[in-house]
Subunit: 361 residues, 2 copies
């Protein structure tokens, strides 16, 4: 077992493609004959800037980012963005609409209250975030500076199946489903994503921002949180997380070999269906999320018996399926099946679930 | 050449010990039989938490951090701290003293002005930051919430040889000389250091804070910048830069084999002396910094002839000594010789300098 890789169903940080890790290992002490590791390169060096520009260009291509929008790399993950979004977009005495479909939108909305008025435009809290609010249920505020939603709810296993139509610029936390399917960037004023699920090791967020939205930050905005400064300095006002950007570059090259986001969309739908089919034909397991809100990234399920849930997680770990215990807010189990999870990992988990059910009738 | 590592004199990001990179490469796809890369681990997993705790404990040991102080890992580097320090320590309508001995203290003081009154307690700008202000020259403000200085000035090649005695809590940016010598942490209210010089790849800062200083942040402080939250959540309110912490852990283990910071102090003094001796016996090269302020981390020098400086940098690169061009604020050359630069790299550079002088009399 010690030399074998396991199937890691962690909600994040999570699996990376094996070929990406192998390339990183191979290039660790000497990148492309440069005589140094990417970790050791000056961020102003030609060799590093080539990596940086290629990564940015490949991300622009992968997500078909229009020229109206700029890609920024920022440290700090999504939590950093929970503050940066209102600091940059709210304005003095501003109002923003937040759709609360899970934990991280809740956390984001609490942070935004430091900087202006937050209107809860919709909430799925009444049924423990097992569903996604419908377009018709979104209560938009006149004059809101932006409308905020979280595209995929990692903890609850739900995913928005539509892009909200809103009067205000649309801000989306896409941390846990970015690069899993095509997205119409032009419909969004700002998309951000912590990279540690579908993109790279933890330590960075990607921000895709309509350039017209930058430059209106509150006066006490930390310089490192200013989208305007980040755009002007091309993410290099300070030393960027160089190696994380390099890893994102490797992941994007791998993504290209898999057919890009269109290829990923087919794959992720197929992978999720394998587990959801088990749930729908099971007498033991049931899905936690309502069917029309099910996430293709995080599959939440339970037996209805906490002891049996714990037994499942324990036996799964022993069988080489790690991190299947659900979040405490939901209980039960959660299988996070991001882009890097191979189909055979999902197939083997499905077989394990059927086997477990047969043994625990 | 393509398979050889070069001597990289970059000011940061900069060299890492080769053995550290080799270990990272070896453990890349499967850390310690866990079946996954450290990059893929949940930050809440037992395996990762063991890495985290060991790294923190080894840093505490390396710098003899007293129990009055807490170690925090934060993303964003020193620039993030330029905002976090005043946001957390300045208080409403507060005053802080800044000693301006170079570029990064200047940048930090400008950022602090967003949050309160900044008193320039001393400045070496009158002689282009070629010296360090004396203790007797420090104009402290009564009631200042903290006194800020930057221990080593990467661009100008100067280093504080004493710890300022101040009435207010002492805040130190130690980004470019941390772990190069023992430091009396108890004399400091707060020490921070971007990790990309002596500690790890870019993407994080280490903060060492007197616990009594936390909890006084301004109301609009982003949650991710709150030292109080970071202490309470042990740097895990959000997903930390897990892999960067792992790399720091590997560097700290290497440091221990080199005799810790005491061993590093002997080594860095010896390495710096090799180059300074060349400068002091040269008819061609002269050091940029005043002798009693010379940095052991960044050696700045010039020929006095810009064309000859450019020729030196170009020929040095061709000979396998990279990134020797000085910063535009100073001109000339800069050799950054952090902990991971081997003695032979410095010896070979010294020989190259002598040879260059002989050929360019």
């Amino acid at each position: 077992m010690a030399n074998e890789r396991i199937y890691n169903f962690s909600a994040g940080p999570s699996m990376l493609p094996l070929s990406v890790l192998e390339t990183a290992a191979k290039e660790m002490t000497n990148f492309g004959g440069s005589g140094m590791s990417v970790m050791e390169m000056s961020h102003r060096s030609k060799t590093y800037l080539a990596i940086f520009e290629e990564t940015k260009a490949n991300l622009k291509k992968a997500l078909s980012v229009p020229d109206t929008h700029e890609i920024i790399f920022m440290q700090g993950g999504a939590t950093f963005q929970f503050s940066a979004v209102p600091l940059n977009l709210m304005g003095e005495n501003g109002i923003a609409d937040y759709a609360i479909s899970g934990n991280f939108a809740t956390v984001a909305s609490k942070e935004a209250k430091k900087y202006g008025t937050v209107n809860i435009a919709a909430s799925s809290e009444d049924r423990n975030h097992t569903y996604i609010p419908a377009q018709s249920a979104l209560k938009q505020t006149a004059g809101a500076k932006y409308f905020y939603y979280c595209a995929n709810n990692t903890i609850y296993g739900t995913e928005w199946k539509y892009v909200p139509e809103t009067a205000a610029p649309l801000v989306c936390d896409m941390s846990s489903n970015i690069l899993s399917k095509p997205v119409d960037v032009s419909k969004h004023g700002l998309i951000f994503a912590g990279v540690q699920k579908n993109m790279a090791p933890a330590g960075m967020a990607v921000v895709i921002i309509d350039k017209n939205l930058a430059g209106k930050e509150l006066p006490f905005t930390p310089k490192i949180m200013s989208y305007k400064v980040a755009i002007e300095k091309d993410s290099m006002d300070n030393t960027p997380p160089c190696y994380t950007i390099y890893m994102l570059g490797l992941v994007l090259k791998w993504l290209e070999t898999q057919g890009g986001v269109a290829g990923m969309e087919k794959l992720k739908s197929a992978k999720a269906k394998i587990i959801y089919d088990v749930l729908d034909s099971s007498a033991l397991f049931s899905g936690c999320a309502e069917k029309d809100a099910r996430s293709d990234m995080n599959v939440t399920f339970r037996t209805g018996d906490e002891e049996l849930d714990a037994k499942f997680a324990k036996e799964a770990t022993a069988a080489g399926f790690d991190n299947l215990k659900g979040h405490r807010n939901v209980g039960g189990m959660r299988a996070s099946i991001y882009n890097a999870m191979p189909v055979e990992g999902v197939e083997k988990l499905a077989a394990f679930m059927k086997d477990f059910e047969a043994k625990n009738k």
